[in-house]
């Protein structure tokens, strides 16, 4: 016998950014605008809380659903920020990153053959996650003409009415697009009309620069059909600590926890202490990071405008998504890397609708960012 990947694994292509990653890793003098995580470190007081918990020997498992104290803080926090109302005992599950939450929701709530409308371009894990759960993907390509917002029209055009569930993410990775409450309403209406479950990845909710973040779960008739994913990775620069959470009605959380309790047991303990501290005492650090991202965002958008690179006004996360001036996006990204030592990621890595664009991350210090902009400008001028 030999090791043959199972069919559902074999079905999933290797990550689209892999080849590009290998190219970039070979060079040591590059400025990378290809990074999907904060350049800041976790606020020191949160790190200290983690260290203190280790010193006190708090290294055992926690409750399956996460420390009760943390779930209470999460409940208070989402109530205050977004007007979400979830019960810490029954409706909150602390997960190993939002990533685990997404995987759990798919596996716990989808049946083989179910169809999931996946709004794209999107984070790379959704489509494989749907496949691993034995369900099928319906591609929903958002359009640059709509600033990559999800609209009723693209949902209808892509056949999402037939779907059992819908997943989307705003503020969005890779586009930086956001959606206001008014823009979410037709999406909510569509979900209600066609009785879709909604998976809302709100991991970038604190990084919305021009309007307050609205959670779709706050819209009428949505709470009962929505699972919200959020976490500490982006807002509190805690990616490596691997901590997130899911919010949903008790039936959904119970089902997700059924898998979680056997496969994960509990989310890592040390980061749960860091997270409690982050929610209690790191608001000013969060604000400071947000302000810095916003300044970088404005700088990048201005520079693109000045150098004639078409780019819609991205209002969230830490990405801009300019149109690629060449037809062959991969060739452009490679040439830019070779000639100017600046890494960006071809938009096609993020699914349908991303082709023809470049994901430019501004999770990079201001001085490197300025240098990178100079280099991109000179690369364009050389053509």
């Amino acid at each position: 016998m030999t090791f043959e990947p199972a069919d559902r694994v074999d079905q999933v292509p290797p990550s689209g950014i892999r080849r590009f990653f290998e190219l970039a890793e070979e060079m040591d003098d590059i400025i990378s605008l290809g990074v999907g995580e904060p350049d800041f470190s976790t606020p020191w007081s949160a790190r200290e809380a983690a260290i203190a918990s280790l010193e006190q020997g708090k290294t055992s498992y926690t409750a399956n659903r996460g420390k009760r104290e943390l779930r209470e803080r999460i409940a208070d926090d989402v109530a205050e920020r977004y007007g979400l109302d979830y019960d810490p005992d029954e409706e909150i599950l602390v997960t190993t990153g939002a990533s685990e939450g997404v995987d759990l929701a798919f596996r716990a709530l989808l049946n083989p053959g179910d169809q999931v409308a996946v709004s794209q371009p999107c984070y790379v894990s959704y489509k494989p996650g749907v496949t691993f759960a034995g369900a099928d993907v319906i591609d929903v390509p958002t359009r640059v003409a709509d600033d990559f917002k999800l609209t009723r029209e693209v949902l209808e055009d892509s056949g999402a009415a037939e779907a059992d569930a819908l997943i989307f993410c705003y503020p969005n990775n890779p586009t930086g697009a956001t959606m206001t409450e008014a823009e979410l309403r037709p999406v909510a209406e569509f979900a209600r009309e066609h009785d879709l479950l909604v998976f809302a990845d709100e991991i970038y909710s604190e990084l919305s620069y021009e309007h307050d973040h609205t959670s779709i779960a706050t819209l009428p008739g949505m709470r009962e059909r929505t699972v919200v994913f959020n976490g500490f990775s982006k807002a509190y620069a805690m990616t490596g600590l691997r901590l997130g959470y899911a919010l949903a009605p008790p039936e959904a959380i119970t089902a997700m926890n059924r898998i979680h309790q056997y496969t994960m047991l509990s989310a890592p303990t040390t980061p749960q202490y860091a997270a409690i501290e982050a929610l209690d005492n790191c608001e000013s650090e969060l604000r400071e990071m947000r302000e810095q991202y916003d300044r970088r965002r404005q700088l990048v958008l201005s520079r693109f405008d000045e150098m004639g690179l078409d780019c819609f006004t991205a209002k969230g996360a830490f990405y801009a998504f300019p149109e690629c001036p060449w037809d062959d996006v991969d060739a452009f990204a490679e040439a830019l890397l070779e000639a100017k030592r600046v890494a960006v990621v071809p938009g096609s890595a993020f699914g349908v609708g991303g082709d023809g664009h470049l994901r430019v991350s501004y999770a990079t210090g201001m001085s490197d960012l300025k240098t990178a902009m100079d280099r991109i400008e000179s690369f364009l001028a050389d053509q």
Partner: protein
Amino acid sequence: MSNRKDVLAVLRENARQSNADIARQTGLTEPEVERIVDELESEGVVKGYTAIVDWEAVEEGDEPVRATVELNVTLDRETNYIDIADRIAKFPQVKSLRLISGDYDFDMEVEGDSMSEVSHFVSDKIAPIPEITQTVTHYIMESYKEQGIEFGDGNDDDRLSISP
């Protein structure tokens, strides 16, 4: 008002940026930034710009001797804190001077070429001021953070160069 706040925030992060770059980060035009910076300077909101130096990293011998000095004073009907502060602040050796709460009154930072220069300055120029009742000098031995900037090697960026 909030434009001024935005410009001020950018300057406080790094004052050594072109008006064009400040404009790009704040959504203002370059002339607007120029006008706001002029205003901030002429109204005395922004008092100056300076480099934050890690003297440990500078060649041997160039490092100034620095001390923080606690000053106690007595006031009378004719003299208040401001009068005393004005006299002390005029000395170029005095780099900062603050009125503080607690056991002593002023917190003064002094800089000189040598320890004897600093101690002579304190004993010859500051201590004799009639309102000063006591001085306690603390020489600065090492600096780990100044004006919000941490010294030392800094954090290496060990993130993957490309990640989803």
